[in-house]
Amino acid sequence: MTRRIQTAVRNYCVFLARCARIAFVGDWRYYAWMGVLTVIALLGLNAYCRQFADGLVVTGMCDQVSWGVYIANFTFLVGVAAAAVMMVIPVYIYDNEELHDLVIFGELLAVAAIIMCLAFVTVDLGRPDRFWHLIPGIGQLNFPASMLSWDVIVLNGYLLLNVYICGYLLICRYQNKKPAVWFYIPFVFIAIVWAVSIHTVTAFLYVGLGGRPFWNQAIIGPRFLASAFTAGPALIILALQVIRSVTQYHITDKALLTLRGIVQVSMIINVFLLMCEVFTEFYAGGLHIASSKYLYLGLHGYHALVPWIWTAITFNLTAMVLLVLPVSRSLKWLNLTCVLCITGIWIEKGMGLVIPGFIPTPLGQIVEYSPSVNETLVCLGIWAFGLLCYTIFLRMAVPILQGELSMANESGALRAKLNT
């Protein structure tokens, strides 16, 4: 029995070692891409060290606008992570064979996105050295009252879930074994429900605050999901085309068009929910729509966000029209549409949701926000780190899925080295 466990562990170590090794090997385009990402990530790390030393005063935040681009990016990326798993639904529920392998690419994107989310939340903390206060049992996690405690649990759980599912499927493919149904199918279905939950919990972070009428609305939850399922699959459509061109991995256009279908329906729902929101706010009016006025029209002469939100709305509407028309079946137009979706929704969820919640303050004061250079560098650094992670994951996964990296072609030398 122990011999079997020893062999299994040794096999796993060989597998990990080869995966790690291959991450550092590639052609000049790979090195250039990873190099650029590393440089940006280092810039971000340096900026974060400056923030750790001097405090959050190096950002553009203040007591009036106490959450900024960090939480905005976090919110957007939780949506991406949730939506990456949406591809799972057609495969496992509707038995869509075309998307079967692509599910792993989606889940790897979810892992990278969650890593970015956790990074964004950590850099936003005033005392990250006290992170252990959040660990249930050791710290004092305020579960179930605090929605942030729910977020901590569901995000980490989702990370573990996806790492497990991808890891299991990949090692089975590496060892040319058929994955045992009970080891992954239940987890896949849990992941589908969990994906919805991570984004709903993140929405409830905002919805639960009675003192911020801009957020305290039931429509925020559905709006989050609709926009996530637009931007997430749009990102995956773009990512899959990159994978296809760089690795010659076989991805059919039909798979891309299935994803287009998801983006299409989600964008229509997103725009419909936007109209519902705008009507509810502006038809009756009242004092509590001050934040909406600030966002869409400007308030008392302050209008910094107005051009941003109208750009986002234009992008979203254009994208919706393009998605409905057959012209977006062509990849060129589809790619443009995806870029419009992603940008529009990023603006909407970031500047269009987080910042207006703070303007005006509950006491009626207007203080506008704009991220500082340091803050922007940290954000770029985390995005670069996330892309770095995703590229490494793909660099490991694609050869395994193509059969080029497998147990069968383990070199004798490597085996011998590890056996001694």
């Binding site: 052609d27 000049w28 090195y31 250039a32 190099g35 590393t38 440089v39 280092l42 810039l43 340096n46 900026a47 400056r50 001097d54 005063v57 190096v58 553009g60 203040c62 007591d63 009036q64 606008v65 008392h300 002469g301 302050y302 209008h303 910094a304 207007i366 203080v367 506008e368 926000y369 704009s370 250079v373 340091n374 560098l377």
Partner: protein, 216 residues
Amino acid sequence: MKGSTKTSLVIYGLMGVFLLLAAAFLMNLWGQTAERPQIPLVDPEFIKTATVRTSYAELVSAKADLSDFDCYGCHEKGKPPILRFDDKHNLLIPDEHKDIVMGHGRNNRNNLCTNCHDENNLELFQTRDGRELKFSESTELCGSCHGPTYRDWSAGAHGRTSGYWNREMGPISRKDCVSCHNPHSPKFPGRQPAPPPHTLRPPLTQPAHAAAEGEH
């Protein structure tokens, strides 16, 4: 260019960039926290808890100079002071008392010294119904007309309460009316406010019609 040459170029290029980056980080070329504008410390006058005036009782307990209250140092005993009025029946304050500005009550209803002071005994007050009160009982005098305020003051709801809210642990300190109000002109004069708050972030835009509105 061959693939391996391109790869070498990229790798050597990266090395160069990393070195440059390391140098830039160590030289601290960017990212220093900007100097925040100096915020002057508040004038300690704004933190002082002393009342603007001192009542007779407080002066007595502080053993201060009470010569201001020695009426018969100038006035003659038994001789009520003569009050002079102008043609509109406004009280004319004599030069010896020129520091007094009469402004007690609107519509000139209470600008008569003898409404409060006993003209036959200047060291006493008199109420409207003829009761006599000592200087140290000035609060009763005020209360004889200002009923609701006096009622609130007795319960601690009007005027400042300081000291101990928990009477078992220490005394509460109450002020007489005249510690805050000038009895001859009791309405509080305006005063300069302490400086407004300083926001951490400077404004991004100066709103166009802020100047016109004058505020915000």
